[in-house]
Symmetry: C2
Subunit: 384 residues, 2 copies
């Protein structure tokens, strides 16, 4: 029986994780839940899962939840808040496994604390690895703690890496859907609207990640994440556009063999893999291989997707550049969604922020967060 | 350094194995060579590789080779012949690894002897597993000897099986090129000529295996081989037609993940994998994944390929039925190539032989060989 701490429990990955717990009550229990601002959902989860501790974003939200639990006669749940509260969840002594699914760098400290506390982490938050991958993986090595990726690409890579040794890996091939604009004529990129960019062909996701899919910045973050998670160089990570999103990623070995992972596009599968690793429980998340008809692949065009080029450059430099890539993108995507900049203004903004970013390598989470703030300020100043 | 005994050294797999030894002199040496009737090639191999022992099919051929070696002033090679000679090669004390690549049941006794002698086997001979899989795998389990498959499909499966436990395997998907007739209208099957059937779209192979690809009997033998090698039921083996022959096979796990192996269509790759396992040496046998454009898959039609249905039935019954499937097919293919029966006469003959085959399970190699002879006689009598 694994007792879980779920950071980001009311988000999409958090809810999918709870649906896995629901399906496998003999394997998983909920020990701690860290949510954000959704008190209604947090209350429902508290009633359903009876965690030992539940954290919300602010003291006011925590107070409201505590009050509602009291009125409902539900006791034994410690309600807390803020970063401290999230860390209390991620380091709870009785938790055996931490699902890190808070979007952005908000979950970084709690994820780091979980690793330092020796807890295996299922990582759904790619910004953690992009911003602080060097620090997190160093801590994980020291504590001998596994970090199991919960996004479909890195989860696929994790599986494919099991058929060879680390020094036998030639490269990692991340597949990308290519987003809605992989075939749009280049001269129309300037006039792409937020409505067009928010229509993703395969996955239904949040607004920022959907725009990041359209620019392929999202794939760029995944390139950096792959470098950190799997200890490979940017030159060892390749991207291939695969519109069907059936092959979730591949690993090429030095002998010439390539291993690919195929499955349905359902986040519950990588979540289950991470929770159960190294076991594979029987699930109903089957892919109809008999119905498979054709798969397409194509090389990404860096002219069409300059964000991808910027990401490879940031991956090469690491440190503050990886952090700035993510931070500047988040600010630029916000500006695009508010129609303050064009679609191609997103890479434009990132490129300028990166050019102004010093080549430093933060050694602590506090330094990472400072770099992140600086990059956001630079981006905002540029867009003001 | 691994010292190899290569059974079938002058055949295609034998020669590819020697080219691997050539490429990796720091890893492999030749200890023993068993050839058939090609004295010229055996002589050249003896000169080049200086094995401790070399076996040919008959005393006369062995005498001829010994004479030529003597005249060339080459000493220190024991020249021997026949099944005894092949067994002397496969059980040579200084050999560390046996490549079993003699076509047909001729290599069966020597392969069995190698396993009993505790030697790891790279198995390129699928008839061995089809005819005597139960006996060979039982011996391998007892002696704790690995059998590493050297055909592209089972080699791919072997790789994909490394990412999960045996009880986590839902099924094995063998890919098939579909041969030259996967799109031929059914009413033209009756008039297929040997010339048409000998044109394989992807691989260049021997005559029988090319015809077996056209009837898909070859894939049927591989279904049986997969059941024996990987200890799964026929219901756990599926076939998918994949004309590009890029995905060499797949394994589907109970959690819903499918692992696929991709590589160039070059037999040196599975040979190298088997020789080096569990390591993966760097090779030049790379697949151009960046150039990958599309992959197709389709379900095989049992009406078009009745041999595949017969193979699944024989796999279910096992024992004498597996043996008879292979033996009857070899006789029927011979008759087809001699234009004595039609293309659809091949499955017709096999079906009749299987119907007349008793449900027995040979316990020894001698009993296997007796079953094989009986099935051939039944087939010949039918075709007389």
């Amino acid at each position: 029986m694994k007792r879980l701490a779920i950071l980001g429990s009311t988000g999409s990955i958090g809810q999918s994780t709870l649906s896995i717990v629901e399906q496998f009550p003999e394997r998983y229990q909920v020990a701690a839940l860290a949510a954000g601002r959704n008190v209604d959902e947090a209350f429902a989860q508290a009633v359903r899962w009876k965690p030992r501790i539940l954290s919300l974003a602010t003291p006011a939200l925590a107070g409201e939840l505590a009050n509602r639990l009291h009125q409902a006669g539900i006791t034994g749940i410690e309600v807390t808040h803020g970063t401290e509260g999230t860390i209390a969840c991620s380091t709870l002594p009785e938790a055996d496994f931490v699902v890190s699914a808070i979007v952005g760098v908000a979950g970084l400290e709690a994820t780091h604390a979980a690793i330092l506390a020796g807890k295996p982490v299922g990582l759904a938050n790619k910004e953690c690895m992009v911003a602080a991958g060097e620090i997190l993986t160093a801590a994980a090595r020291t504590r001998n703690v596994p970090i199991l990726p919960i996004d479909s690409e890195h989860n696929a890579v994790h599986q494919c890496l099991r058929v060879g040794a680390h020094n036998e890996v030639k490269c990692i091939w991340l597949t990308a859907s290519g987003g809605p604009f992989r075939q749009l004529p280049l001269d129309q990129f300037a006039s792409i609207t937020p409505e067009q960019a928010l229509k993703h062909p395969t996955w239904v996701m949040g607004r920022r990640i959907t725009i990041d899919s359209a620019t392929m910045l999202n794939k760029g973050l995944e390139v950096i994440e792959a470098c950190r998670l799997f200890d490979v160089t940017p030159a060892q990570v390749r991207v291939t556009i695969h519109p069907q999103s059936t092959v979730h990623s591949m690993v090429e070995y030095v002998d010439g063999s390539i291993l690919a992972q195929i499955s349905i596009t359902d986040m519950r599968l990588p979540i289950l893999y991470a929770l159960a690793w190294p076991e594979r429980p029987k699930s109903s998340l089957t892919f109809d291989l008999a119905g498979l008809r054709h798969l397409e692949f194509e090389e990404p065009d860096f002219q069409r997707f300059p964000c991808l080029r910027l990401a490879f450059e940031a991956a090469e430099k690491g440190g503050a550049h990886s952090i700035a890539l993510n931070a500047a993108d988040e600010v630029a995507v916000g500006a695009f969604l508010e129609r303050r900049i064009s679609f191609m203004g997103i890479p434009g903004t990132i490129e300028k922020v990166l050019a102004a970013t010093p080549e430093v390598h933060p050694a602590t989470i506090a330094e990472v967060l400072a770099c992140d703030r600086e990059a956001r300020e630079r981006a905002r100043a540029l867009l003001a």
